[in-house]
């Protein structure tokens, strides 16, 4: 019953494209058939209603249909994508997964049972209410992964409002709040999701051209990779109407360069967290980092420069950490922001602020400046303890030139001296060979 509104929508749009997967187009009729197929399998395999089931897969017709069939069966869904391969045993245990359903790259599925008995109060409550649930793991780019449990019923509510959909690439992963949002948004508006085999700039640009992608939801790190790789030169990207970016602070320099190259593409900042879901947002303009966030079901406030959110569709709680909510239900995001009327500008995670001799440094500001330098392909800025100033600013740089460290440092100091306050200029520079982002195209500051 929970997905009846989706079933109706699919039935009304039988012939429309629902999904492009492995160069094949799947219609809504085919997705409906897949859901029915799964409903039969789950029944036959006696998967109890309300079971905690992991879907170990990337976006595919089977995996998507399985998720919907599990929601219909009031199950608690734990999507785990290939990007967390090494943590799967740990995540299964934390989420108290009872049934594992894996869908291989060839879309072949396999069902197994773990023998686990669910006893976590949050999960037991959900089962008692006969509500389907969703467990998402935070990326843990700055610490241990936390398992956020959502009640699917309020979460699905916001997708019942009809909205306009664009042909969207599924850049964010299946097990990420942004990926789940992209999927549900498109399904509920009978839009089309285009999946990609990998997330290389070349592959993504090729898919945009080939399948007429209109919306690319992605991360600032990936936009920078598109710029550095120049993959856009090989493909006709004229159909692209909008790029949404989130999950980390956008360096101003990346936004400006992207906007210059694609003046007709609307750039919109999104804001969401595993704990509260995705807020509605509106950037002041395509080249502005100022953004209004909120929308139906969300309240926001700024306390001591930090953003706090109260959400109707907030998670029920973590499975492996204390509740992060205040007594009256506000979630402290840990994001430091500046405020200008209705707009905010995100400065960075509180935990990533570098305190250098009593002065605050936001990594994103320094990264943005360094990325303006010729030959800087990727850069990650972080703090390192130092006996003299408490901390120092350290820049890890992937260079496209063959400069030595001393040569680059000299050029960097000259470049930054008119652009950054002295204490913000990295006191330490390390040159690296490998990419500086993780599977989720988010800078790794660990």
């Amino acid at each position: 019953m929970h997905i009846d509104f989706l079933r109706e929508q699919f039935a009304k749009n039988r012939d429309s494209d629902a999904l492009v997967w492995r160069d094949q187009v799947f219609s809504y009729e085919q997705i409906l058939a897949e859901i029915d197929g799964w409903a039969d399998v789950l029944e036959k395999e006696s998967i109890a209603k309300g079971s905690v089931v992991s879907i170990e897969a990337d976006f595919s017709p089977k995996a998507i249909a399985l998720m919907l069939a599990l929601i219909e069966r009031n199950c608690v869904v734990v999507p785990l994508s290939s990007s967390v391969q090494n943590q799967i045993p740990e995540f299964r245990e934390i989420a108290q997964v009872e049934v594992v359903i894996s869908v291989s790259d060839e879309d072949v599925s396999e069902i197994s049972r773990t023998g686990t008995k669910v006893d976590h109060p949050v999960l037991v409550d959900l089962q008692a209410k006969a509500h389907p649930g969703l467990i998402l793991f935070s990326s843990g780019s700055t610490g241990k992964s936390k398992a956020a449990v959502h009640d699917f019923v309020p979460m699905l509510e916001k997708y019942k409002v009809p909205r306009h959909s664009l042909r969207t690439i599924s850049f964010l992963l299946f097990d990420h709040i942004g990926g789940v949002n992209t999927l549900l948004y498109n399904l509920s508006n009978a839009g089309c999701v285009i999946t990609v085999a990998d997330r290389k700039p070349e592959t993504v640009c090729a898919a945009i051209e080939k399948y007429g992608v209109e919306l690319l939801p992605t991360s600032p790190t990936f936009l920078n990779l598109i710029l550095v790789s120049r993959a856009y030169e090989e493909h006709e990207l004229g159909g692209l109407k909008m790029v949404t970016y989130g999950t980390e602070v956008m360096p101003e320099s990346t936004l400006e360069r992207f906007h210059e190259l694609f003046p007709d593409v609307r750039l919109l900042q999104t804001y969401g967290l595993s704990e509260v879901g995705i807020l509605r947002s509106k950037s002041r303009s395509s080249d502005s980092l100022w953004v209004k966030v909120g929308g139906e079901g969300f309240e926001t406030r700024v306390v001591d420069g930090m953003l706090e959110i109260k959400a109707k569709s907030a998670m029920l709680g973590y499975l492996n950490a204390p509740s992060p909510f205040t007594e009256d239900g506000w979630f402290k995001t840990g994001d430091a922001v500046e405020v200008d009327g209705e707009y905010i500008r995100i400065l960075g995670r509180k935990s990533e602020i570098i305190n250098v001799g009593g002065e605050k440094v936001y990594p994103a500001e320094v990264e943005s400046t360094l990325q303006l330098m010729e030959g800087v392909d990727e850069v990650v800025v972080k703090g390192e303890p130092h006996p003299l100033t408490g901390n120092i600013v350290v820049a890890n740089v992937k260079l496209g030139t063959d400069e030595t460290l001393a040569q680059f440092r000299k050029r960097m100091r000259a470049f930054c001296s008119s652009r950054l306050a002295r204490f913000k200029i990295p006191q330490k520079v390390e040159l690296v060979e490998n990419s500086l982002h993780g599977e989720r195209f988010k800078k790794m500051r660990k």
Binding site: H386, P387, A406, R409, R422, K428
Partner: protein, 96 residues
């Protein structure tokens, strides 16, 4: 060893340029680095120390800490002049 490090410190300090050093004349072994009449403030000192540590690692293939508890608790600060810094670094490298 100490001469080699002395030369390395002078070269590294020059590379940092005028923003970090308020130098009147040229830089030599007796140039006051930090403290009374020093050419560096604390930000400049941290930057120089980190750069020298990295240069020693690159060129001599040895790692040395020039700003740990030990360095900070010396009766006579190793950061007074170029030569005291070189002396301290050389001592550390020789297991001092």
């Amino acid at each position: 060893m100490q001469d080699k490090i002395l030369e390395l410190i002078i070269r590294t300090a020059r590379e940092l340029g005028e923003d970090e050093l308020s130098l009147g004349g040229d830089l030599d072994a007796d140039t006051r680095l930090f403290g009374a009449d020093g050419v560096l403030d604390s930000m400049g000192l941290v930057t120089l120390i980190v750069a020298v540590e990295q240069a020693i690692e690159d060129e001599l293939d040895e790692s040395v800490a020039l700003a740990d508890e030990k360095a900070l608790s010396q009766a006579r600060s190793p950061y007074r002049t170029v030569s005291t810094m070189a002396e301290y670094a050389a001592d550390q490298l020789q297991g001092g």
